[in-house]
Symmetry: C2
Subunit: 288 residues, 2 copies
């Protein structure tokens, strides 16, 4: 059996550092393919380049992606280059490009990333505790959460995402104003999570803007994620939270814990949102 995520990450090598992949509409939200899939493709290309060589570094430790245009279903070119190969860390750049309708290449995403070996991260000196969550069966499965409403976007069917009902009121028209979501996350087909998949999951929850009463697309300008450990098999716990909404820009923090309760990834992204005329729903000032 080939898992869906592995199909989505499949790259054919053209030249050294030059790959071709395919964006599948099965990972779309509206007309665009989910940005997390593009980031994970960038990470997969960089893993090929930085994971080979004299001192291979196969695990993404930090990845920053800037989104330049929306990815569409179809072929995509992934160019991955090493900028520096060190003893402990290596750093590279990935550029994702699709050919536009006029035959001209259009850049979708550019990413910088540092790779290393997460086996060296076994020693946890200090971490963040996972949130308490209801049993997965008592959570709201997002693929079917809309009930009689419009069908969930294709992306939601790739995920087994169960939102804590306490943070899912927005789906029933009752945003909490806290800008927060919590839940269990994994692949719908049971594929085991790995560091590249964590980068995908970090951007896979519905936007926190929904919980602030702000509907519509919340395009990511910038995303930076850190992978802090190789996840143990099993369901992941995830939390997202936004503190600051100014001038139509919202930051969204995300944390992921593995089935042992260890924090394995965290991220922050900056999104652009369209404030409704009635204003957002704000419960309280954010804290640190």
């Amino acid at each position: 059996m080939t898992f869906e995520f592995d199909q989505a990450m499949a790259l054919s090598a053209e030249d050294p550092g030059s790959f071709t992949g395919r964006l599948d509409g099965a990972w779309a939200i509206g007309p665009a393919v989910n940005g997390g899939v593009l980031m994970a493709l960038a990470a997969a290309g960089l893993r090929e380049v930085l994971g080979s060589g004299e001192v291979p570094h196969s695990d993404p430790l930090a990845l920053s992606a800037y989104f330049l245009s929306a990815g569409a279903p179809g072929d995509i070119a992934v160019a991955a280059d090493a900028l520096r190969r060190g003893r402990t860390f290596s750093t590279g750049q990935a550029v994702l490009t699709q050919t536009g309708a006029d035959g001209v290449p259009v850049e979708r995403l550019r990413a910088l990333a540092t790779y290393g070996d997460l086996a060296a991260s076994d020693q946890v000196h200090r971490s963040i505790e996972p949130p308490d969550l209801p049993d997965p069966d008592d959570c709201i499965a997002t693929a079917t959460a809309r009930g009689k409403g419009p069908d969930a976007p294709p992306l939601m069917h790739r995920l087994d995402l169960r939102l804590d009902p306490a943070t899912a009121g927005w789906a029933a028209g009752r945003p909490s104003g806290r800008g927060e979501m919590r839940g269990w996350i994994g692949f719908a087909d049971g594929r085991v999570p790995d560091p590249v998949a964590l980068l995908f999951f970090l951007d896979a929850m519905p936007p926190t803007s929904f919980d602030l009463g702000i509907g519509g697309w919340a395009p990511t300008l910038e995303f930076s994620g850190h992978v802090r450990g190789r996840p143990a098999p099993g369901r992941l716990r995830m939390q997202t939270r936004s503190h600051t909404l100014t001038g139509g820009l919202l930051e969204e923090d995300a944390w992921i814990w593995d089935s042992t309760g260890r924090l394995v990834a965290q991220s922050r992204q900056l999104c652009s949102v369209r404030i409704p005329e009635s204003g957002p729903v704000i419960a309280a000032a954010g804290d640190r």
Copy 2:
């Protein structure tokens, strides 16, 4: 009068998008020039490129920098390119290079950044409250904090940094184990802060690792900062905090508020630290 930071940010245009600047040892910590100065130089170069053109975008909104080697006093080349120019946002890349002893160019830093117009960020819907701080005169001036110890690094004399005594115990050999610092920050010569200067300040405090009992250099692998508003003139309040220490990697979050109490910048960086044989000083698990 020319302020020190403006001298440090001075760029001569060679070709379009190609600039030469100079790293001054006055901004050094040990043999290396402070990484925040390099990030600010990248931001200054990108401001030249993205701030001109049909729809100028002069304010950095998000900047991610990957540090490839340590900057040394001397000339530095700044190459800044626009990747995308949009109506509301423009995105670019900056590459900073110095010539090594053998005449070969060595890349110091690569950054991606999105620019826009922070005048559009006047509307604050939700933000984070600043910390309570003692009066600046009751805080510890870092330039003179070492007392009879070794002189403060040159960088500290460029800053007017006053640490809250509650978070400065590490300077007297009593790290709190919380991985936290708070204080007032500004330029020693009174230069007013602006968005590019905020990117510098975000990396200017002593590393939080000192407060975890981890001495020595804490090199930044990756830094991502968001500028959320143009700062009002006056002293800035700043806080840094680290939650997670695994496998010799530590993330450091920073927040800056202007004199009106508005959050104007925040960042996260991933640092590499050397754990002492006696282990770090850990007060409690981090929280979100």
